[in-house]
């Protein structure tokens, strides 16, 4: 597969997903970019925007194993990872895999579970493996965790710690669709569209896990000029010196920007990264990794504001200005 094949395959996947999900084209593309960049996604949005439908459809289109975990306050870590169960018949302990053992994992409302349960995802997201009772078991490939959280209900929630947030490649803010998109959705419902039945919506499987691995390989072959590397490092470096930012982004963020920029370049049919690719994904990669000063928060400064100011001050390589 080359970049042209990558581009066409990417477009095909997006087209299938858009048959079901209307008005969220950017989110679809970003999630697919994250898959190709071997990263995990945190989606923040109010209920009813199709977050679960997105992941379910993606799993269907990619013909990938899909599991959903609804995080609740009483969810235990073993409910996520699985555990050893004594088999009386066999007279031995048998490991019963938890829902985490899948290719596409939807961690719905991940901030509703206590930190102990949230941390069960840490090893899986980073190491692509799960350790239970001392035994490390690998997770299938490709492996993607898509977590969701509700930005409005703070009662009874457990905000993700910075260590866990840092393991998400992208944080996407899902907004309400436009009125036109919403009307289009309603018309579809009137025509008998059933979002729970993807086959009836005409969604077909256009890719497989092997295709995803192939696409990830193509992304890995996209070349990056040293000026682009310098550009990325400078952007992330400025997050550590910004007056409103208490804690800047880590090198994991630099890697994240690099990988997403490469994936986006491949999606654009290029085998090289340009500054636009970096600028396109820097906000999504950085916004959940920044800790603002309390006084900046009190003044209404957001992480997006800080990122925007950094990008507007960082000189683009090879700019004639």
């Amino acid at each position: 597969m080359n970049v042209q094949d990558f581009e066409s395959r990417f477009e095909a996947i997006c087209t299938e997903v858009r048959k079901v999900l209307i008005g969220q084209d950017d989110v679809v593309e970003h999630v697919l970019i994250a898959i190709c960049a071997q990263g995990h996604v945190l989606i923040e949005g109010v209920p009813g925007l199709g977050k679960t439908l997105l992941v379910r459809t993606l799993g269907h289109v990619l013909n990938a194993d899909f599991r959903r975990i609804q995080f609740t306050p009483d969810l235990m870590p073993s409910d996520v990872t699985g555990g050893n169960i004594f088999n009386q018949k066999e007279n031995e302990f048998v490991f019963l895999k938890g829902p985490i053992f899948t290719q596409l994992l939807l961690a719905d409302e991940v901030n509703r579970a206590p930190a102990k349960t949230q941390s069960a995802l840490l090893e899986a997201m980073q190491e692509r493996s799960v350790t239970v009772d001392g035994t490390t078991r690998p997770l299938p490939t490709p492996y993607l965790v898509i977590a969701t959280q509700n930005p409005v209900e703070n009662q009874g929630t457990y905000p993700l710690p910075e260590a866990q947030l840092d393991r998400f490649l992208l944080k996407l803010d899902v907004l309400h669709p436009t009125q036109e998109a919403e009307e289009q959705l309603l018309h579809r419902i009137l025509r008998g569209f059933d979002p729970t039945s993807l086959e009836s919506a005409g969604v077909t499987k256009v890719a497989s896990a092997a295709d995803i691995l192939d696409m990830q390989r193509v992304v890995g072959e996209v070349q990056v000029d040293r000026h682009i590397v310098h550009y990325i490092a400078e952007i992330v470096g400025r997050t550590r010196n910004h007056s409103s930012i208490y804690l800047g982004a880590s090198p994991r963020a630099s890697i994240g920007i690099l990988n997403t920029a490469r994936a986006f370049a491949a999606r654009s049919g290029r085998d090289y990264v340009v500054p636009d690719d970096v600028k396109e994904f820097a906000p999504a990669v950085l916004r959940h990794r920044l800790l603002l000063h309390p006084d900046a928060e009190l003044e209404g400064v957001t992480a997006n504001d800080c990122i925007r100011s950094i990008l507007s001050e960082t000189p683009v390589p090879k700019n004639i200005a």
Partner: protein, 703 residues
């Protein structure tokens, strides 16, 4: 003789012309000259003429007394001279001083005395000529002055400015056009490698340090030319980059986008959403350039040609339009240029200013009579040193702004054979060693030693000059006792007019320019007196008023004339001191940005959210429970330590609550102390805290 005093006057102008002609010819010693007899004075030997008095006047035909009187009466009867004949005429403030001639001029100007008898408080501002100029004169009045008969499209003060702007624009446009044509018509020699300067690749540091001066080319045409030169040398990557840079610069200059170091090509393309053609051209160029910059795939000739074919038509269109605009301006500028000509088709500028003023203070009578004698009379325009070659004589009246160098120039001009009359300019007189006396002379006028009477060959002589009447405002003093000045006209014993030869020319100084005015000429035998004083008429005579020399030759001179040099220096010093004291902020300071203020409640809410995120409820419960339990123990059974159940029972008994509820609250409070750092439900913690507080209140108050 006495009849000459009242009925045989001469116009003063005629007298001046005759006097000047005779004296100049006498100065140069021309043979075969006129018929006029000139009284010989030892001082003016150089100006003597040897002609006999009996020779006829073939060059300066002087009218007889009766004819001269008729001429003067006819002139003064014209409606231009309302002060003479219109009793309703209201004097201008500048005319009031001429009323000293009213009595003497009453024979020719019967209304003059009536007009002068009116109270001075009724006098008008300005001048008669000014009223005519502004179109405020009453055209229906038969005695109103004629309006000027020539047109001036723009005020004269703006003419020079427009002229400068026009020629400056023409010059700069021509220069720009020449440079542009030469640059674009010149072909880059492809056989000479190295002629074009190759683009210098930027270092990484330069690429990321906008503060460094990189000498980046920003001219669109230069970039295109450089691109073609580079392409001719085979450097297609650099050439393509220059084409791309040319397009971006063109878009920046056209304000379709704004170049900035932090903007990407994607940002520039998004800025051109409303201009699809430009966006497509940019997209193509960007693709090629980025592939070269970041993809390691430099463009070939085909890619360069394609890029150039897209970009060049777009950017050169603007240049062509600019060229058309420039040509259009060059054509249009003359059409809207200034008409710097004065009176059209007239005799110079005579119909203007004092020469066209028919009030008592004007010189209209003088001008008319001079013209009747064939003298070309003009107002002098421009610098005093810019004298036309055909000017024979100049009359300077009123106080001027001339500087010593100007007077030196005039001295040289007179020496070369011209005639200068200085009337009423003390500074000018002082330059030649003559001072104006402070007192006013009211004695009868009489001819001085330099005066030479004019006698004709026909019958009636002219009036006895000794019996002329009138008044002079002041008399002249000769500061240099050894000077060649000779009294020309005396007022009593003091001279009011002096004369002397200077080189080939002559100089006449009058103490008072009012002697040349319409009111003066209408009075007594003033005209006759000056007729005898001035022999020869010049072909062209110019009059220069008080404004001559007021203009400046340069801006600095203008400032000096206005005495502004010192003021400007002081202002500059003050600014320098302020700049030094305040620093750069003095020049560039802006008002500090005032942030938007939030309500206090918003701050509290924000702090509350921060505490909530930090799970402050658990901590608060922990702290409060420690205190509350101690207080409850102290209130229920001081000195002893009850268990939770015992304490709960005691509190329930005292407060009347259910024991189970009280025990539950106490147990939760006690357990909060034991689970520090553990995760808890903030809502539960807050509820426990409130219930515990209620127990504390009900058992004895909050303290």
């Amino acid at each position: 003789m006495s009849s000459h005093r009242t009925s045989k006057p001469w116009t003063l102008g005629t007298s001046i012309l005759v006097g000047l002609a005779l004296q100049s010819r006498a100065a140069v010693g021309e043979a075969g000259d006129n018929h006029v007899e000139v009284a010989v004075d030892p001082v003016v030997d150089g100006a003597q003429s040897t002609e006999s008095a009996s020779e006829p006047a073939d060059e300066w035909p002087l009218p007889g007394p009766a004819e001269a009187e008729d001429t003067l009466l006819r002139e003064l009867s014209l409606r231009h001279y309302a002060f003479c004949s219109d009793p309703d005429y209201v004097l201008f403030k500048g005319e009031r001083r001429l009323c000293r001639f009213a009595k003497s001029a009453s024979a020719r100007c019967p209304a003059f005395t009536v007009v002068c008898a009116k109270p001075a408080s009724l006098d008008r501002e300005g001048s008669l000529f000014g009223e005519v100029w502004a179109g405020r004169s009453d055209d229906e009045s038969p005695l109103s002055p004629d309006p000027p008969t020539w047109e001036l499209k723009v005020p004269e003060s703006l003419v020079a400015v427009f002229r400068i702007v026009f020629f400056l624009a023409v010059g700069l446009s021509a220069l720009w056009l020449a440079v542009y044509l030469i640059r674009n018509l010149r072909r880059f020699d492809t056989e000479k490698p190295g002629k074009a300067k190759p683009s210098v690749p930027m270092t990484l540091e330069q690429a990321h340090d906008p503060r460094q001066t990189r000498g980046v080319e920003s001219d669109v045409s230069k970039l295109l030319a450089r691109a073609k030169a580079l392409a001719a040398r085979g450097d297609y990557p650099a050439a393509t980059h220059d084409v791309y840079a040319a397009l971006l610069r063109y878009l920046d200059h056209s304000e379709l986008l704004k170049l900035h170091p932090s903007k990407t090509n994607g940002d520039y393309q998004r800025a051109l959403t409303q201009h699809p053609a430009l966006r497509d051209a940019l997209r193509d160029s960007v693709k090629t350039v980025e592939k070269s910059q970041f993809g390691g795939a430099p463009p070939d000739e085909a890619a360069f040609r394609r890029s150039l074919s897209l970009v060049e038509p777009l950017v050169t269109r603007v240049l062509v339009m600019l060229l058309y605009l420039c040509f259009g301006s060059l054509v249009a500028l003359p059409l809207v240029g200034c008409d710097t000509s004065g009176p059209s088709g007239r005799t110079g500028t005579a119909d203007w200013g004092a020469l066209a003023d028919g009030s008592g203070a004007g010189f209209r009578v003088l001008k008319t009579l001079l013209e009747q004698r064939g003298v070309r009379v003009d107002n002098h325009r421009g610098r005093i040193s810019a004298m036309a070659p055909d000017v024979d004589a100049m009359v300077i009246y009123d106080r001027t702004q001339l500087v010593p160098s100007d007077w030196e120039n005039m001295n040289r001009w007179v020496t070369a054979g011209h005639h200068l009359v200085i009337a009423g300019d003390p500074r000018g007189a002082a330059h030649f060693g003559v001072e104006t006396g402070p007192e006013t002379c009211a004695a009868p006028l009489s001819p001085g030693r330099a005066y030479s009477g004019i006698r004709r060959t026909d019958a009636e002589p002219y009036a006895d000059p000794a019996t002329v009447s009138g008044e002079a405002s002041s008399f002249l003093l000769i500061s240099d006792e050894g000077s060649d000045f000779v009294p020309l006209i005396n007022c009593g014993e003091q001279p009011i007019a002096l004369w002397r030869p200077i080189g080939l020319g002559t100089l006449t100084i009058l103490a008072d320019a009012d002697l040349l005015s319409n009111a003066s000429l209408a009075a007594g035998d003033n005209a006759l007196l000056f007729t005898g004083a001035l022999p020869s008429p010049p072909a062209r005579m110019v009059f220069a008023g008080g404004l001559v020399g007021a203009g400046a030759g340069s801006p600095l001179q203008s400032l000096a004339n206005a005495r502004l040099n010192l003021v400007l220096v002081q202002i500059a010093l003050l600014l320098a001191a302020l700049y030094w004291a305040k620093g750069a902020a003095f020049a560039k300071r802006r008002d500090p940005e005032t942030g938007e203020r939030r309500e206090f409640l918003e701050h509290i809410e924000a702090i509350g959210r921060v505490f909530a995120r930090g799970r402050a409820a658990s901590h608060a419960l922990n702290l409060y429970a420690s205190w509350a339990l101690e207080r409850l123990h102290a209130r229920i059974r001081p000195g002893s330590r009850l268990s939770v159940i015992e304490l709960g029972a005691a509190i329930a008994e005292r407060t009347g609550r259910k024991q189970g509820d009280v025990v539950r609250v106490l147990a939760e409070a006690a357990s909060s102390r034991d689970r520090r750092g553990q995760v808890s439900d903030p809502a539960e913690d807050l509820r426990t805290l409130k219930e515990l507080e209620q127990l504390v209140i009900e058992t004895g108050g909050t303290r």
